[in-house]
């Protein structure tokens, strides 16, 4: 149905042309699901945009043939393309909320597409739009028809995007990271929905994702891309078991799944010993947090208690809105709880209010590593300045001592010292993550709060960063509070885990115990929703 031959795409940048896609070949049959897997910058999205000819400005197809059911897409007129887009080939995107027009009712957006492709008239457009919403299993579709995107949850928005894409019954659906940013349980329902609809309509699907596990579970065939070229392709099982290309092997290894150990993520990795646990370092007792909302109080935390021993690592896992970030920011003393107690080495941390905690002598002992390595670095500070920043305020070192300390830290986190003078935009994602960790370590903390430190990273970099964290924990005898939505990651790094849901701890215990024999249905559903590994 779709045949791509020797596709080359070039982007004009200030530093001259850059090849985003360097001659790839793809084939897709009717009713087949093809997975394109690759890390950021591999050219997988550009390939998808080329099929629909919706490349951003500056992007240009240099050569190649894009043949869809006998139509040459690269030479088709804009008019013909507009007939094909949405009716023959549709696309769904990552970040569903942004993919919808924020100030137009979702029902009207679906109508726009239906009416444009002459699939509906003024009279029956509304009924057809509601039918399209019903088909993606949106409850109460008549009411949702009048909703604006900001009134819907992320998962609901993605359903609307799917409804919009499938309204005109296309033959080919391109799904570009359709579940990035969604919770695992939502990810599962969305992917199951796409799979069911594709099956029902005999629709071809191209699934573009960075998640090898996800692709393996839902695709008939996989294509692995790197630097704009296809490195390997084949059935998921074969790729998982016997990948021939070194990059695929690395990718397969780096994909976390239950039962894997940390050093297995990196080819040739060695096991890091786990530090011995000492006395209780941190104790949270019945911590509650209530926000004043527009429609009454919002109970973000409804009494959370846990103990964390010196040298231990507690994983906080939960879906968005479960309160895990609120817990971490309260313990990091960035905000005050409404009620409850937090003891650090037996003394209450709440004696000093969050506002004044920056001057508390215990401030250096509790440090935080933030989720987005890029956003949490000052874009105008060099790596060295960023790392030295806490030393400037919390330590009393001379300039020379401070410089030596920065170099020492850089060495600890594996950041080559020539990179220290670079600004964040001149560093790679993995290097920025290292800067963030070095900055948190600068004042020799005892407790490190890690708020989804690898969520924005590619799997291969995630693997390295996770191993780095394990090594540092051992070397410096650190205690970790690790916040994540990913059970597979928690399973490898943490010795105990607390599953959070709606502001409460649903289940807590030894990691292996909770994951292998969960006591609550909710924990069970979280474990089940994670993609089944292909290898």
């Amino acid at each position: 149905m779709l045949k791509i031959q020797n596709l080359r795409v070039q982007f004009q940048t200030r530093n001259g042309p850059v090849d985003a896609v360097r001659g790839i070949d793809l084939m897709l049959g009717r009713g087949e699901t093809l997975g394109i897997v690759g890390e950021s910058g591999s050219g997988k999205s550009v390939t998808a945009f080329s099929i629909l000819q919706i490349l951003d400005q500056g992007g240009r197809i240099v050569s190649g043939e894009l043949n869809y059911s006998g139509v040459d897409l690269s030479n088709a007129s804009e008019r013909d393309l507009n007939d094909i887009r949405g009716r023959e080939i549709s696309m769904i995107f990552q970040n569903p909320r942004a993919a919808l027009n924020p100030i137009r009712k979702v029902g009207h957006q679906i109508e726009d597409v239906l009416r444009h492709h002459a699939q509906a008239t003024v009279q029956d457009a509304r009924a057809k739009a509601i039918a399209a919403l019903k088909e993606v299993q949106i409850k109460d579709a008549e009411a949702r028809y009048h909703a604006y995107p900001f009134e819907l949850s992320g998962g609901m928005c993605q359903r609307v995007v799917i409804a919009l894409a499938l309204a005109c019954k296309p033959q080919l659906l391109i799904a570009d990271e359709p579940t990035t940013g969604l919770d695992v349980t939502t990810q599962k329902t969305v992917m199951d929905l796409i799979q069911a609809l594709a099956h029902e309509r005999q629709m071809g699907v191209i699934l573009i994702t960075h998640d090898l596990g996800l692709a393996g579970q839902y695709c008939d065939r996989l294509v692995v891309m790197k630097d704009g070229a296809v490195v390997e392709s084949g059935a998921p099982e074969t790729l998982g078991r016997s990948a021939t290309h070194a990059y695929t092997q690395r990718l397969v290894a780096a994909t976390p799944h239950p039962g894997k150990t940390l050093h297995e993520l990196v080819l040739g990795g060695t096991e890091t010993p786990v530090p011995d646990q000492g006395d209780v370092l941190l104790s949270a007792q019945n911590v509650t947090k209530t926000y004043v909302g527009k429609s009454g109080p919002v109970h973000a935390l409804k009494g959370v208690s846990f103990d964390l021993r010196q040298g231990g690592c507690l994983g906080l896992v939960g879906e968005s809105g479960s309160g895990k970030s609120t817990v971490s920011s309260i313990i990091a003393r960035l905000q005050d709880p409404t009620d409850g107690a937090i003891l650090f080495e037996g003394a209450s941390l709440l004696d000093t209010s969050a506002k004044k905690f920056a001057r508390d002598p215990r401030r250096p002992q509790v440090q935080m590593v933030f989720q987005d390595a890029t956003d949490s670095l000052n874009p105008r500070h060099s790596a060295a300045q960023s790392i030295a920043e806490p030393l400037r305020h919390l330590g009393n070192l001379t300039n020379i001592q401070r410089r030596d300390r920065v170099h020492e830290l850089a060495e600890q986190v594996g950041l080559p010292s020539p990179l220290l003078t670079r600004l964040p935009h001149q560093l790679s994602e993995g290097q920025k993550a290292r800067v963030g960790i070095a900055r948190a370590l600068a004042v020799s903390p005892k407790l490190l709060i890690l708020d989804e430190p690898t969520a924005a990273l590619d799997v291969s970099i995630q693997a390295i960063v996770l191993n780095l964290l394990a090594t540092l924990r051992h070397q410096l005898n650190l205690t970790y509070l690790f916040v994540s939505h990913d059970l597979a990651v928690i399973q490898m790094l943490c010795d105990s885990v607390a599953v959070m849901r709606q502001g409460q701890i649903e289940e807590m215990g030894e990691t292996s115990q909770v994951l292998n024999a969960p006591e609550t249905a909710y924990t069970r559903s979280l474990i089940d929703a994670a993609p089944v590994p292909i290898m």
Partner: protein, 338 residues
């Protein structure tokens, strides 16, 4: 639901109005000089000044004076202007429509040119259209209004002679229309007096164009910038992938999303245009509120200045209210209470 929100927003405007009244009161009391001396005139002696002071209530304590001032304001007594001898409220009622008619028409003209210009520039950044837009905008903002005004008069009145003499709102051969709204164009149309309508329109062309050229820049710039942002956002890509027509994407999806910052700019431009058109009013002998205020200031005409400040402040409060309401119309995400 929406009606209740609008009422809530109206109630929020009340403290601002009260604040404005207090400030105008204090401002006039804080200005140097004794109003009684001015009101009594040059030839007055000590006794008659004291008499004026008593009739004006200036010998009473400040809180008492304030109450008096507020009572007068509510009753519609904004005092008499020294220089015109008329009640200030009557002066303002006659002159404010003249300024508003000019400013609104200028802004309408400006938007009609600037928004399409901005959209055109944003759809092909870096092209000759974009550069054309930039040149026009820079030229417009760098020429002062009194210069463009005189240039236009020179070319279109003196050289080409296709517009009437640039003196006031109506040529002497026409009769003023019956005052309904005070806007000559509207009054002319309402009474069916098309002769006057045409006459008033002819007088308006040059000053309105002068102001439009000046106000073009911020609107076009903002339209271009916010259109660029809107066009690069994810939902435009979705719309393109769904095969929607270019026109629909541009006008229905991108422009409506880009309009919010444009409306903000429009409000600001309107505010400064109303203040800045003093120069235009002077060049075209336009009997507007700007020239009235300047004359009053020069003549130390307290009541008139006070009335002008109060009227302008109320106008801005109303303007901000309208902008907020327009926001809510454009963007469903905005609640009035946030």
């Amino acid at each position: 639901m929406r009606a209740r929100l609008i009422i809530a927003r109206l109630i929020q405007a009340i403290p601002v109005v009260i604040g404005v009244v207090v400030i105008t009161f204090i401002l006039t009391r804080a200005l140097p000089g004794d109003p009684a001396v001015y009101f009594a005139g040059d030839a007055a002696d000590e006794a008659s000044i004291q008499q004026v002071r008593e009739t004006l209530g200036l010998d009473k304590p400040l809180p008492h004076q304030f109450l008096q001032y507020v009572r007068d304001l509510v009753r519609g007594d904004w005092g008499n202007s020294l220089s015109t001898g008329q009640p200030v409220l009557a002066d303002l009622a006659r002159r404010l429509p003249a300024s508003l008619e000019l400013t609104l028409l200028a802004l309408l003209l400006s938007c009609a040119i600037a928004i399409p210009l901005g959209v055109m520039a944003a759809t092909s950044p870096g092209s000759w259209k974009d550069h054309l837009c930039r040149v026009l905008v820079t030229a417009g903002v760098s020429l002062p209004t009194f210069f463009t005004g005189i240039l236009l008069v020179y070319v279109f009145y003196y050289l080409l002679d296709i517009v009437p003499s640039p003196l006031g709102r109506l040529d002497f051969i026409y009769i003023e229309p019956d005052s309904i709204t005070g806007f000559y164009l509207i009054d002319g149309a309402l009474t069916g007096d098309w002769e006057t309508f045409r006459g008033a329109a002819k007088q308006l062309v040059l000053p309105a164009t002068t102001m439009a050229i000046f106000t073009l820049a911020p609107i076009a710039r903002m339209t271009r910038a916010s259109m660029l942002t809107a066009l690069s956002s994810d939902f435009i890509r979705t719309a393109r992938a769904a095969g929607l027509a270019r026109r629909k994407i541009l006008m229905g999806y991108a422009l409506r999303n880009a309009l919010l910052p444009v409306v903000t700019t429009l409000g600001m431009v309107f505010s400064f245009a109303l203040g800045a058109n003093v120069l235009v009013e002077k060049v075209f002998a336009w009997p507007g509120i700007g020239s009235y205020a300047v004359d009053a200031l020069v003549a130390s005409d307290y009541a008139a200045v006070q009335g002008f400040v109060l009227a302008m402040a109320l106008l801005f409060v109303a303007l901000n209210l309208i902008i907020d309401l327009v926001y809510a119309l454009i963007d469903p995400r905005i609640g009035f209470d946030s």
